[in-house]
């Protein structure tokens, strides 16, 4: 039995311990906001937060998150802003993504938003070099110039 919380909901699942978290989320729980891009930790599309830290769920066996608190893109705003009725529906990263019109096809953006959120949690004022070093997500559409602009707007704010 695998036990963990996803977006505040407690799960007790009968799945193989080596099943990657990505496929537990997508195929067992129907949480499809977390994306499959490469399956080998090379692209970042599947990034979720495990106890607050960016984790590539495609190579994370579910046994490795036993007892953990997992946040996916669907639960990010609640995790960040809380569940009060007047809590904003978007995090400041998500809002910046709209303000700077970052996504194109959008497929990489769940992972991108999760990775950036973690980056800013750990380093509220990242330099360009910090951004380059800590953000290795692939965006085949080429949204990276806008990702940088959107992050910069959050740093100077």
């Amino acid at each position: 039995m695998a036990n963990f919380r996803v977006n505040g909901v407690e799960y007790r699942l009968d799945v193989e311990p080596e099943m990657p978290l990505l496929w537990v989320l997508r195929d067992e729980l129907g949480l499809t906001g977390t994306k499959f891009g490469c399956g080998i930790a090379a692209c970042g599309a599947c990034t979720v937060h495990v106890n607050g830290s960016s984790t590539r769920s495609c190579v994370t066996p579910v046994q490795a998150v036993e007892g953990a608190d997992i946040t996916t893109i669907e639960g990010l705003a609640e995790a960040v802003n809380g569940t009060a009725p007047d809590a904003p529906a978007l995090t400041r990263v998500q809002q910046a993504w709209i303000d700077y019109q970052v996504p194109q096809c959008g497929y990489c953006q769940s992972g991108m938003v999760m990775a950036v959120t973690d980056l800013l949690n750990n380093n509220p004022n990242p330099s360009d070099a910090d951004i380059d070093r800590s953000l290795s997500n692939i965006c085949r559409c080429g949204s990276t110039p806008r990702v940088r602009k959107a992050i910069r707007s959050l740093v100077s704010a």
Binding site: R26, F36, G106, V113, L135, N137, R148
Partner: protein, 738 residues
């Protein structure tokens, strides 16, 4: 390009108490009569529709797929502007995949511009597809949506609806229509101070005969076009709620993983699935002509079980083909024949024989995969003699037909569910069906939805690739040192007529194509032939400039005397980049300019060489003349996107063949530009007022040559084969700057 307005026909219908107005590409005839006739034989090529509801909301039905290019918003802007709608009340929806919404304007547009939609040509040649069938596609490609559907469909539909609404209001008030005007979804009569909302007029307006030639606005009258509007598809893309094909989900869904013959075209001979069948969740192992699939209750379970399946594929004559063989074949075919004429001007032979100097060079670019971020996938649910389909495609209508024919159903019994695309770049164009066929045949064996997913490896190794091309150049100088002739022999096929042509004023030109077929499946890849040809021609013209001892920028400008739009983009890019001014040590700028899909683009790359002997692109300055920018923010985004897509390919992209199969498997060996390699990009949009140019593709072609031209100045090494990762530029001699 002009399309005779008389070839179009408008038709209307009342739905839900509102006005639905469509715009059809067909022969001129009386509106209602023709509508009935066409409706009967199912040939109503209505291309765009907009709906006005009693509550004054406007819905624009867009017959193109949203794959990140912002097309839903741009096309809605075009209709809404002509309609004088209140933008706040406008929403865009993907048009349903039915014949009514077939995308005739695109085909008509291409037909007048090039003869045939370029990205469809290779398949046309290879199959029995007829032009009449193409009109039934709902295709998104060729940078065509705004240019054709928008300019000819959306604007006319909006303008016609506006005139009908005015006519209704004038009639109701008993005043001449000329005294009425429209603004923010209302008709006003100034003299009496009366006004009516469109929603109040819509039902009555639908009874009117639509005008055949509604008056279109002049650019200075635009209120919505030309403004940077937020894209409607972005909010769902930041919180995980956007539904892509791969996100189709139901509790009873099954998942298929597939292994296709690694050598293209090989058939499945035998399968031993004994170890896989007992695995948890595994439902069935399915043998198809060229593949074997495992269906399970979870994709990972299917994929793991598939690893235990032993499959044997037949041997083919291609089992020993490698990239080296393909290059050798290209070289010998180029050497053997003079090929077919692409373009001949003057007398190249004589010019060459009288030359004072001749420069020669051979170029090559490899096959490329599209690698959209969302791996290929398709969900089909067969039930009650029908099928529901969820798949990310650049052509819903075409897929509907394909699933119907492969699944043995009538087209009308196949329901396409619109979804977002996780990238396209040509991979999801019609006729690149492999995934659809597999998914349909697999799902047909079940009564629940089955989602077939290509892994990244499947996607990379079972693509339809950007063709590899080899190209041999010669150029000559006359005794005065002027360029007298330009010769280019390249391997075909030509997918985009004109891509190998040059804008430069060289009196004698001989551009010829030599067909050299391989077993590797090919198709359109973002910008089609321009991605290869622009690298070749813009690199070689640079070589010619250096050989002449000239500054490559000045040299180009002089040879572009007859192309003022090309000159202008070059000048604007040079000015923006600070070309010719001092650069940091070890930096240089390279230039390239190219026209494709009706837009003209100049790119200047500022480059240095890093410690691994690789180019580091610091800054790209781009000037684009796309006629007019419908949504300037989208234009910039598409340019950024096009540059980075081309840069990824130039730096890292290659698909090579060994033992008949693709070597590369996943992103580590088919890399992309990430944050750390992303240059600063500056974009200058030039509003020349010329016909609208495409946006999705034209920024891709110039970047490879711009980087190579800069690298040459820095190192003295001329990169004539891509990608850069196969070259070491660290030991080198800089070229004197001119």
């Amino acid at each position: 390009m002009t399309i005779s307005r008389r070839r179009f026909l408008l038709s209307t219908a009342v739905i839900g108490g509102g006005l639905l107005i469509g715009y059809a590409a067909t022969r001129p005839s009386r509106h209602r009569v023709a509508n009935e006739t066409l409706a009967h034989n199912g040939q109503r090529f209505l291309t765009t529709w907009l709906r006005i509801d009693p509550d004054n909301r406007v819905t624009v039905y867009v017959p193109h797929s949203e794959m990140g290019q912002g097309v839903h918003t741009s096309l809605a802007m075009m209709a809404a502007d002509e309609l004088d709608a209140d933008w706040e009340l406008v929403t865009a929806e993907q048009a349903p995949a039915t014949d009514l919404f077939a995308n005739g304007d695109l085909i008509t547009g291409f037909a007048s511009e090039f003869g045939l939609p370029s990205f469809l040509q290779p398949i046309l040649a290879a199959s029995s597809v007829k032009i009449s069938q193409l009109v039934n596609l709902q295709t998104t490609g060729g940078s065509s949506s705004v240019r054709f559907t928008g300019e000819h469909g959306m604007r006319n539909a909006g303008a016609a609806a506006r005139e009908m609404l005015i006519a209704c209001a004038a009639d109701r008030w008993g005043v001449p229509a000329e005294q009425c005007h429209t603004q923010l979804s209302h008709v006003h009569h100034n003299a009496s101070g009366r006004s009516l909302a469109y929603g109040e007029l819509a039902a009555a307006a639908a009874e009117l005969e639509p005008p055949e030639n509604p008056r279109l606005k002049q650019p200075q009258e635009f209120t919505i076009m030309g403004k940077a509007m937020s894209r409607a598809d972005i909010p769902p893309k930041v919180n995980g709620s956007a539904q892509y094909g791969i996100d189709a989900y139901s509790d009873d869904m099954l998942f298929a993983a597939i292994r296709i013959a690694p050598v293209f075209g090989a058939r499945l001979v035998s399968v031993d699935a004994s170890e896989a069948l007992g695995r948890r969740g595994v439902q069935r192992v399915i043998e198809l002509e060229d593949s074997v699939a495992v269906v399970a209750d979870n994709y990972w379970r299917a994929k793991e079980a598939l690893k235990l399946v032993k499959a044997e594929f037949e041997q083919t004559e291609n089992d020993h083909v490698s990239s080296a063989d393909i290059w050798a074949q290209f070289d010998s075919d180029l050497a053997a024949g003079d090929g077919k004429k692409d373009k001949e001007v003057g007398d190249t032979k004589t010019a060459m024989s009288e030359a004072s100097d001749i420069i020669e060079a051979s170029y090559r670019v490899p096959y490329l995969a599209h690698a959209p971020m969302e791996p290929m996938n398709c969900t089909v649910h067969f039930h009650d003699g029908r099928a529901d389909v969820w798949t990310s495609t650049q052509d819903n209508l075409g897929i509907r037909g394909r699933v119907a024919s492969v699944g043995g159903l009538d087209e009308n019994d196949v329901m396409m569910h619109p979804v977002y695309l996780g990238g396209g770049f040509g991979r999801r164009l019609p006729f690149n069906w492999n995934m659809i066929d597999h998914a349909t045949l697999i799902a047909k064996q079940f009564e629940v939805p089955v989602k077939t997913i290509f892994s990244r490896e499947d996607d990379m190794q079972q693509d339809y690739y950007r063709p590899a091309v080899a190209s041999n150049f010669r150029a000559s100088f006359d005794t005065n040192g002027n360029v007298s002739a330009w010769e280019n022999r390249f391997t075909g096929p030509i997918q985009t007529p004109g891509a190998a042509h040059i804008p430069y004023a060289i009196g004698n030109q001989s551009i010829r194509v030599v067909d050299s077929e391989t077993h590797v499946p090919i198709a359109a890849w973002r910008s089609v032939d321009h991605s290869q040809q622009t690298f070749f021609t813009e690199s070689f013209i640079d070589e010619v400039a250096h050989r002449a001892g000239r500054n490559p920028y000045q040299f180009r400008l002089e040879l572009l005397s007859e192309h003022p739009r090309h000159r202008r983009v070059l000048e604007v890019a040079a000015e923006g980049a600070g070309y010719g001014q001092n650069l940091p040590d070890g930096h240089a700028m390279g230039i390239a300019v190219q026209e494709s899909f009706g837009s003209i683009v100049a790119e200047i790359a500022e480059v240095s060489i890093d410690e691994n002997g690789q180019p580091r692109v610091h800054r790209v300055t781009c000037a684009i003349d796309c006629g007019r920018a419908v949504n300037p923010d989208t234009v910039e985004q598409q340019v950024e996107s096009g540059i980075l897509f081309g840069l990824s390919a130039a730096l890292y992209g290659e698909i090579t063949i060994e033992n008949g199969a693709v070597v590369q498997a996943n992103f580590p060996d088919y890399n992309s530009v990430r944050m750390a390699q992303t240059p600063e990009i500056q974009i200058h949009i030039i509003e020349s007022g010329e016909a609208l140019g495409g946006l999705g593709e034209p920024a891709t072609p110039p970047i490879a040559a711009a980087v190579a031209n800069a690298a040459y100045i820095l190192t003295g090494q001329r990169i004539r084969e891509l990608p850069f990762k196969n070259h070491d530029l660290s030991r080198s001699t800089p070229v004197a700057q001119r």
